[in-house]
């Protein structure tokens, strides 16, 4: 919360997502991809969103920016407020003014998100000319600075190269340069290093971290990788089957995971740095997430949960997101803290 106190920001959070519901319209019915997600993100903070494929984390990000495929999907309820301004009701042009200027996005795959027929320089200059109205010359100078900022060696001579002349790691640096070109206040990064080798990933994450600190950007970082979350996030949102199941500060979450799903996810990770990890038996999570066509109106993790008993509310009610420790919210009838307490009582 330091960033908020130290700056002159009012009580309004930079980004406020409230009861967001996004659905896909398929021949089989409506897919409840994002099903009532709420959170806030303050200036200068990093919120990590973690979950497995199909949990709704990417669809949530696309919803924020109005980038859902038209006619196939739509926000059906909820609010997205940026700096106090409602984004869900903005028209296409108004959204275009916000995207790239105030809020920018970096996607997973730098191979497909850059245009292969335009030079790196052209693609860097586009947002500068569109949003900041710079002259061609000024935009070019700024583009070189940006390439230097993301540590591309020989920036001035590399500006007229095309994406195929760049390696995967360099392309992702260019994507980041394009994203921060107009000094956005919020950067949304969806699996920004998933397509990269581990050694390259570390340097790209360092770059993102440095830029975020330097410009006091808010960063919404979406990933499936708990390691990336551990490295980058101030706060963490764990998503499962379209819902937020746990929300806590990062150290708190890793020290005291409360949701059985978060615990299981951490236990299922093969470990690289523990002596004796060789041929270890991994704690796999049995089964798979429920279909989001008609999601059950009960705890969505109940079918895979080791703590859900027959006569529990788990299989008859939907647990609310509640605060079980300071700033630590969890959606389950069996948070770790209550299991420990119950064990203490019965002992």
């Amino acid at each position: 919360m330091n960033a908020v106190q130290s700056s002159t920001v009012s009580a309004v959070p930079l980004l406020e997502v409230d009861g967001l519901r996004t659905q896909f319209f398929t021949p089989a019915g409506r897919v409840h991809a994002v099903d009532g997600v709420s959170f806030t993100l303050d200036q200068g903070r990093v919120l990590g969103v973690v979950g497995e494929s199909g949990c709704g984390k990417s669809v949530m990000a696309l919803s924020l920016l109005g980038l859902l495929p038209p006619r196939q999907a739509a926000i059906v309820a909820g609010h997205v407020r940026y700096d106090g301004r409602e984004l869900t009701t903005l028209g296409r042009r108004q959204l275009e003014d916000v995207r790239g200027r105030e809020i920018a996005m970096v996607f997973q795959d730098p191979m497909t998100s850059l245009n292969p027929t335009l030079s790196i320089g052209d693609q860097l200059m586009e947002p500068l000319r569109r949003h900041l109205d710079l002259s061609r010359q000024a935009a070019r100078r700024r583009a070189i600075e940006l390439l230097e900022e993301v540590e591309i060696a020989g920036a001035a001579t590399r500006l007229d190269d095309y994406p195929h002349n760049y390696s995967g790691g360099m392309r992702q640096r260019v994507m980041i340069a394009i994203a921060v070109a107009c000094r956005p206040k919020l950067l949304i990064a969806d699996e920004p290093t998933t397509a990269l080798d581990v050694t390259v990933q570390a340097s790209v994450l360092d770059l993102l971290h440095d830029l975020q600190q330097e410009y006091e950007m808010a960063l919404l970082l979406i990933t499936h990788d708990m390691g990336v979350i551990a490295e980058m996030a101030d706060d963490v949102l764990v998503m499962y089957a379209g819902q937020v199941v746990e929300h806590a500060p990062a150290l708190e979450l890793f020290d005291h995971p409360e949701h059985p799903y978060t615990e299981a996810l951490l236990a299922a990770l093969p470990q690289v740095d523990v002596v004796g990890a060789h041929k270890q038996h991994l704690a796999a999570i049995p089964g798979r997430p429920p279909s989001l066509l008609q999601p059950p109106a009960v705890c969505r993790f109940a079918a895979r949960c080791p703590y859900a008993e027959q006569d529990d509310p788990c299989t008859s009610q939907m647990p609310e997101l509640r605060e079980v420790r300071p700033s630590h919210f969890v959606r389950t009838f069996h948070p770790a803290i209550e299991r420990v307490a119950a064990a203490g009582v019965s002992a």
Binding site: E52, G227, A230, L265, D273, H278
Partner: protein
């Protein structure tokens, strides 16, 4: 592991002719460059490296799906690089592959039963009834309810499809499975299920694996020995625990240090370490 040597690879080399534009010319790419290793019965050799290291090409050369430029591949004492087609075909019964992508490696128009029975039919093993029994046995072995045998791949999740892929590769009672990134398309919770299954199958059937992957943590979870590849060469090879706990080659060390682990304090300390290394390098320049 003191089992007999099953696979012996010596001086394996694969060059790809470089291209400039549409004309063949230019430098050859040394995808695999003088690589040697052995795999013993019942053990797992993990072959780990980043993209372009030559690890997958090595796997394909072992299977003779790619013709090596030089070197030898001996499987159960038999030289495969010069083996005539018929002999190669016989050898492949005992030398099978598991692919990365369970979405594209299963024919969407075949039922799971047809997919798993395919190798049996190709090698003309048994009659219809006995093949069917064998398919059900295999599905049971990999944790798929044999009652689902008449379903199509799209009716299964990614993890279940990879189980089907493994069942198919086990149909001919192989001795060695070459696994090319078998879990990298899967979510963590499902990945753990498949890695556990592979370890169990190894114990039960005495299988050997050549396990090719980029993820060091995943490789550690299955391997007895590890070989680290980069630019077509094996840089370091040894007992799995040893390589992870006391890496010798600087590249192995760098690779291990770069893996993100689920420990915020360590990750942040690691970032500070990188930052001061960079600052020191910058100041020296």
């Amino acid at each position: 592991m003191s089992g007999n040597v099953l696979l012996e690879v010596e001086g394996l080399t694969k060059h790809f002719q470089g291209r400039r534009g549409f004309r063949r010319q230019g430098e050859a790419v040394r995808a695999v460059d003088d690589v040697s290793f052995v795999v013993r019965e019942g053990e797992t050799l993990g072959l780990v490296g980043e993209s372009g290291s030559g690890k997958s090409t090595t796997g394909y050369c072992v299977l003779q799906l790619l013709k090596p430029t030089a070197g030898s591949v001996r499987f159960q004492g038999q030289e495969l690089t010069s083996a005539p087609r018929a002999e190669l075909r016989a050898a492949r019964r005992e030398l099978q592959i598991v692919f990365q992508d369970p979405y594209s490696s299963l024919d969407p128009r075949q039922t799971v039963e047809q997919i798993v029975a395919d190798p049996l039919e190709i090698h003309r093993i048994g009659d219809r009834a006995s093949r069917r029994r064998r398919v059900h046995e295999l599905l049971d072995l990999v944790g798929i309810d044999p009652a689902f045998a008449s379903r199509y791949p799209h009716e299964f999740s990614g993890g279940q499809r990879q189980r089907v892929g493994i069942a198919r590769s086990l149909a001919l009672d192989p001795k060695l499975l070459i696994c090319d990134e078998p879990v990298s398309a899967l979510d963590v919770s499902i990945q753990a299920q498949i890695l556990n299954l592979m370890n169990e199958l190894q114990r039960e059937l005495g299988l050997a694996y050549l396990f090719i992957a980029h993820d060091l943590a995943v490789v550690r979870a299955v391997s007895d020995r590890i070989a680290v590849m980069r630019n077509g060469k094996i840089l370091e090879e040894g007992d799995a625990e040893e390589v992870y706990v006391r890496p010798q080659h600087p590249y192995t060390k760098a690779l291990l240090a770069a893996v993100p682990v689920a420990d915020p304090r360590r990750m942040r300390a690691e970032r500070e370490r990188r930052r001061s290394t960079r600052a020191a390098a910058g100041a020296g320049a």
